[in-house]
Symmetry: C2
Subunit: 320 residues, 2 copies
């Protein structure tokens, strides 16, 4: 990934999420030529058919594009089988690569969506030129991509970099994976929304409640973020508490992985320094031996919503 | 490491711990020809002089040995400078490699002791033939060595695989690194001793107290382990509680790293299935998507007390 030769042809990239499916054709410089979006079909057959249709439609724009990459929300092995995804019931030992190769007729590679996002940032984004990188995506859950020695860490079975799933609190909320007190359960965008609802229900987050039109039940992380961006003290305080939870997990991951750069992605990153400021403050000084080592820069991802399709298209270049 | 050519000459290996200093000459097949041990001197000058004396004494046994490897308790950068060690005050930006090369006159490599132990197990021990391995050492603290794609993960600054230092409990004890509730503080052998003292002080660990000669204050992890090995229910229960703490941390690390094998080392491993049995039980089924992926074997290290000198000697082979 980090050391691959420059690409010379466009490829197709697919971002196969629990909610949305995006298919794009991407130029060698990382430019998204065109992208199609739709709700993710419920079945594997539906997903395969939708990708096939889109690739055929997009192929006219770049007739030289001859490989397909897919980033999928789930645990993907080296054969492109998606074994498990907490949010996509259709992904139970689903042979996504084999099905797509049969339907579309192009060589295909499938990887985990966070790994793919890391490839995108490494090749065309915030991590360009780095070799040891931790990327975390703060969204519905917490995704992760880990780059060591210039390559994405996939682990023994392709299930590596599930960085949201370590215990940070034995009394914490139950995680989507079934275990208690995992980092994801306190550091995801979903968790920020839950903090906002709890605080608003207690009458202590008026600005957040106002952002959500006065209805506690619809408060999500974005409402807390928007109110914080507007400078409301109740929301700023919530973001600081949330940033501490994110930072404590990042400290553990940085002690384990020793990255030279931490890249944060996900919708909340649009808050920029409203989130990253408190996050950097909470992170600083907590690494093991912090006084004797360099601090680790924490920067926002650059490709944002395009990381999935771009990273998948980058992976596909390896097949051309 | 994993893919290096077979060694053809003996090398020197040094295990530079907070308490003990060991210097050995090691044959290409991993055999320790001879080893000298002493308490670790208090100063860098003393350490360098002691290693120099021992290497000269051992050189007569293998005149062909022309390189020196050192595994040290601390954070070691790529230049062999030990920046920080929680237990060795002499190690503050200490240029150990440069000092040893000047004194001993042999090419020298210095790495973290847990990384070195991982190299030893990978080359001559329990992890031979594996490419994705997590090694944890349960001792005074919790050490770690991580192997990805057949090589030890060193991270951007050589500070990687500090696997004891992530939060598992916001209300847990303060760790040696200064942060609260890190895994090391509940999963080290030291923590097992503290559990034994607390339980015995409450009158609820009679067999552990008996192992320690009736003195609560001298109880250490080994007393709990010995009583458990003898089958005493109070001690067996303590070991099970401790094993759960170890397992919860291993689950997190395995979710992050996706190893094909977990190797456990440290003095407690002599308990074998008395510890590893409850540990495997507590680990099983807790990985993310556990129902859809293979379980990870947890095995004892094979080189035990020799892992430091053997691993250091293996690293030195790369200099010959």
């Amino acid at each position: 990934m980090g050391d691959q030769p420059a690409a010379t042809t466009a490829t197709f990239g697919v971002d196969l999420g629990g909610t949305n499916l995006r298919i794009a054709v991407v130029d060698p410089d990382g430019t998204v030529v065109e992208e199609q979006r739709m709700p993710t079909p419920d079945t594997l057959d539906g997903i395969v058919a939708a990708i096939d249709d889109s690739v055929r439609a997009l192929a006219g724009l770049r007739p030289g594009a001859r490989a397909l990459g897919v980033g999928a929300a789930g645990m993907v092995d080296d054969d492109g089988v998606i074994h498990y995804s907490p949010n996509v019931p259709a992904f139970r030992h689903a042979p996504v690569r084999a099905r797509l190769e049969a339907a579309v007729g192009l060589p295909t590679v499938v990887d985990n969506d966070a790994n793919v996002a890391a490839v995108a940032e490494l090749t065309h984004g915030a991590a360009r030129g780095y070799r040891e990188v931790l990327l975390v995506t703060l969204g519905t859950g917490v995704g992760g991509g880990v780059v060591t020695r210039g390559e994405v860490l996939r682990g023994a079975h392709g299930f590596g970099a599930e960085v949201g799933h370590f215990q940070v609190d034995p009394d914490g909320p139950v995680c989507a994976c079934g275990q208690r007190g995992h980092w994801e359960a306190v550091a995801s965008g979903t968790a920020l929304g839950a903090m906002g609802r709890a605080r608003a229900a207690a009458g202590a987050a008026p600005s957040v409640l106002a952002q959500a039109g006065g209805d506690v039940d619809v408060i999500e992380g974005v409402h807390v973020g928007d109110a914080a961006q507007a400078g409301a003290p109740d929301a700023v305080e919530l973001v600081a508490e949330y940033a501490l939870q994110v930072a404590l997990g990042l400290v553990g991951l940085a002690n384990i992985l020793d990255p030279e750069l931490i890249v944060v992605s996900g919708g909340l990153v649009e808050l920029d320094d409203v989130l990253l400021g408190p996050l950097r403050s909470a992170f600083a000084g907590r690494l093991e031996g912090a006084a004797y080592r360099p601090d680790v820069p924490i920067v926002p991802a650059l490709l944002a919503g395009h990381a999935g399709v771009v990273g998948a298209a980058v992976l596909a270049r390896g097949l051309v």
